[in-house]
Every structure is written in C-alpha cells, then in structure tokens.
C-alpha cells in the first residue's frame, strides 16, 4: 500500500446530513448520517465539526454554542452520498444534543477536517490501540486496511463502554479497568508485549485519553516503534481560523485541527495536552 494523501479537502461551508440511524451501544451512541454534499473518501483520523440542526444550545449553562469535533468512525459510500458514522458518549451539553438525534433529524457538519492516519505499508504492521471513545477513528482505519491489522488493542472503563469493541471485526483484545470484559488493567499492558522484538516497519496507531496516549508514546519511544497518535484539544472552528486548538510539540505550538489531529509521536515531548481534560 503506498502513501495516500492524509487530507481530503472539505466543501466550503456547513451542510446538513440526514440522520439515518441512531443506536445505543452500551455507554455510547452510534449516529449514522447520509452526507450528500461531501467527498466520499475522507481519510481515517480526519474529523468533522458537528452540530444538531435543531435546538443546538439551551443546555447546561446555555450551551452548546460552538460545533463539536468528532472523528468519523466509519464511512461507507451509499447511493446519495456517504454514510458517516460517529461514535460518541454524552458527557456534556454538546454530546447530549448529538446523542439525542433521531432518524430523520438534520446533522450539521463541516469536514472532513485535519490530517488523518498515514496508512501502514502493510496491514499486519498496524497495531491499533484505542482507549474509550478513542476507538472511533481506529474503526475507520481498520476498515481501510486491506487485511487484518497486526493487533487491535482496546481499553475501556468497564462493560458498558467495552460494548464498542463489538464494532471491530478484527478480533480485538480488550482490557477493562474493572476486569468485567477481557483483561483487568490498562490497554498499555496489552500493548507492551506486542512491542517486544517488533520489526522496524511496525507502527502503532493510537487514540484515547491523554494519559493513555502519553503512556503509548513513552512505550513506543522506548521500544523504538513508530506511533501515530490522534490527539484531542478544545476546538472552536476546526479549520485553522481561531488558533485556539494549539498543542505543544517539539516544533512549538501547532493548530491541532490543521496540522493534526493525528501526529507522529516523535513530534511530541508529551501527549498530555493542556485542557484536553475528561
């Protein structure tokens, strides 16, 4: 597989997609929407700025006001456009509104935005490492591989969240904090053995909470294994306009929405991005 460009250009402006499915998956909600106005080839790891067509706003503290960034979890060309899937958990006013979408509702979106994952030279070189909601972009990456990845390692808080593991057809290994599904412990515990004696062309693809990404970064750096990390930071615009989403890298502050969200781990001293809480 040769190096594909990592950014698919977005149409200018916000457009509406129609929600075609909205299903619960344990603690998560999986929203499917038919995007008739965008490209059909977003790169896994790219994201969209989302808002509901109706009633955005009016939640806790009179929010949400701005759009919210979401990696697409899956993208499937369909008659009429591209069916995009977003995996999310209602953790605040914006995700609550999105989680409340029903079939037929309008989902407003801008995108695809940012830079996605660099495809591996061969599927088996790819080690997918996801934590919590961070599994979303890895789904898209797994789908894009022409074969099974070398490993799919997923970490969750507990069973309600581990339900998202069912979305992966690549036989994921799962770890949960409480041991209710898979191994008890952290996803990085699962990763460590995979890094031992890895060929030079292996590459880790990781997305998850800052602490997990930082552990992955440190492990990979120690093992001399390449890693691409999909980071998060608070975003207002998603297209480089506000300079708000910056994260510190070895080259200084960069706009994560423009030069990320996927970064090569060696660009970072730390993946603990300020303000990217949860």
């Amino acid at each position: 597989m040769s190096r594909a460009p990592r950014r698919t250009t977005a149409p200018f402006g916000r457009r509406a997609a129609e929600v075609t499915q909205a299903e619960r998956l344990g603690a998560y909600v999986l929203i499917s929407a038919l995007d008739g106005g965008g490209p059909t080839d977003p790169v896994p790891g790219q994201f969209y700025m989302l808002a509901t067509g109706e009633r955005w706003g009016g939640g806790t503290d009179e929010r949400p006001y701005l759009g919210r960034a979401f990696s697409f979890a899956r993208a499937r060309p369909d008659p009429g456009g591209l069916t995009l899937q977003f995996l999310l958990e209602a953790i605040g006013p914006g995700t609550a509104r999105l989680a409340g979408l029903e079939v037929g509702d309008a989902l407003l979106l801008v995108g695809p935005l940012g830079i996605g994952f660099d495809a591996p030279e061969a599927p088996q070189h790819a080690l997918l490492v996801g934590g919590g909601i961070g599994v979303a972009p890895l789904l898209g990456l797994a789908d894009s591989l022409e074969g099974a990845p070398g490993a799919t390692l997923l970490g969750f808080r507990g069973a309600a969240h581990a339900a998202a593991g069912e979305l992966f057809s690549s036989q994921p290994q799962i770890a949960t904090d409480d041991g209710s599904v898979g191994a008890a412990g952290l996803v990085t515990d699962l990763l460590a053995p995979h890094l031992e004696g890895q060929a030079l062309d292996a590459r880790v693809y990781a997305c998850g909470p800052p602490a997990m990404l930082e552990a992955v970064r440190a492990l990979c750096a120690a093992a001399g294994v390449d890693a691409q990390l999909a980071l998060e930071s608070g975003m207002a615009c998603g297209f480089g306009a506000c300079f708000g989403c910056v994260v510190p890298t070895r080259d200084g502050l960069i706009r994560l929405c423009l030069d990320g969200p996927v970064l090569n781990a060696d660009r970072l001293d730390s993946a603990l991005v300020p303000g990217a809480g949860h």
Partner: protein, 295 residues
Amino acid sequence: MDGSVDLCGVELGGPILNGSGTFDAIAARRVFGAALDREFPFDAFVSKTITLEPRAGNPPPRLWETAAGMLNSIGLPNRGLAGFLESDLPQLASLPVPLIVSVMGFSAREVAELVGAVSERAEVSLIELNVSCPNVETGLVMGADPTETAALLDVVRPLAGKPLIVKLSPNASAPEDVARAAEAHGADAVSLINTLKGTALAPGRNRPWLGGQGGGLSGPAVRPVALAQVAAVSAAIELPVIGMGGITSGAHAADFLSAGARCIAIGTESFRDPAAAGRVRADLAAIIRKEREEI
C-alpha cells in the same frame, strides 16, 4: 448585494468583512481547496493582527465556550512583520477581494514601523490598528483613552500611505470619546467592537481555565453591547464605522447598518460555519431589497 460600498476610497463589492483573527484564509485554502477562493464570503479580507516580532501566542488552553459565546486567549500568534510580508502577504494578495492588514505594536514607534512597512506594499488596501486586544497586556493602553489614541495617531498617521482604520476597545468607559480622538487625529475609519474582557475558571479547580488567565468574549452574547457602542460611535463621528460583535444573521447585519455602520464584520460565527458570511450577505441583500420595495 447589488450595491458596492466605498470604504475610505476602496470600492468593495458589499459591506461584509471578517473580524481580524477569526478567519485564516491561508489555512482555509488548505482545508477547503479552490472552493475557498471561488466561494469567498467576504467583500474585503482582514488579516490576523501582526506584530513587529514573531509571537507564539498564549499557552493553551485558549478557548472556553460561554452562554451564547466564547472566550479566547489566543495572544496574537503571528510570524512577525518580516515573516508576514514574505510568507503570508503574497498568499493573501491573491484573494479575490481587497486586503486589510491588521497591526499591533507595543509602542507608537513599533506601530509606526509596522504601518510604514505595510504601507509600501501595493497588495494592501487599508491598514487596521488593533489598539484594543484584551489578550496582550499593553495592547489595552493605546485604545483605552482618547489621549493615548490621539498621541498614537499623531506619530503613525504621517507614515501611513494607506487609509487607517482604528479598531476601538470595547472595554472603555466611553468608546465614543476615543472615536472622536481618532477622527480628530487623522483616522480614516473606526471598527468595533473587539472582544470584551472576561474569564472563566477551570471546572472545580478554582483557577483560571485559560492559559492566558483572562480572555476576550465574543459571539451573540455581546451583540447588544456591540450594537450600543456602534450606535454611540456612529452618532459621534463622521468617519465610516465597521461594526461587529455577535452578528450571525442578515437581520443583525441590517441592525448594525441602520445603527450607523458602513460595513459589518463576521467573527465568531465563521467558526460555526466557515461560509456564514455568505449566508449573512444573501440574507442582508434580501432584507435591503424588501425595504426598498416597501418605500
């Protein structure tokens, strides 16, 4: 819009600008490709504020969502004058609309140097003086009171080969007094409002959320304040006024125009929809058409 607008001798296709620092046309070209130029939504483009030396800006986090608005503490990251002239200006010059360059200095001498250098470039139609950014401490001084503004313009005006827009600070007891001083000392236009000083605490942590500690408030939340200041300033001076602050619809734009603004600018709303200004322009045109029919 059928009617073009004269802004200090520069003819614009319509009255809609962007707020400085709320749209990066160079980044937008990377994201939206050729569509950006084809569907460019503004009638003139205002650059992000530049300074003499390069600046990294404030440490993150830089954003906080508020009730119907947002706080930012961006802190004016930019390549500095030399970097801007070399890397950014050629790219901005190829936009399909006139270019306004926003500058800010930490002393009258610095502003003069910026204005002098930018004036020499034919690609630039107008210069905006940002004397009101609440994120950089010394930025407030020059726009905070009439005497400071007058003193600044006395130094800068003679060196400016382009029309000068003074962007007023909304964090002032009487912005109309500052506007009068700007007019009396040679400004060609004024723009307002910049962001209102505001802050937010990190949830449950008892310390400011923003890396820059304080930030600037923008978006619909500030629109009534912006409209009042635009009306007061428009009534106080003869210069053209560029009004902004929380505009999200054609009806809001019409309100600012009827409060006395010559042009209006879209800021935060572009974050929600990059093409928002295009929608505002179309809606405004429809409102104006309807008003004309009713007369």
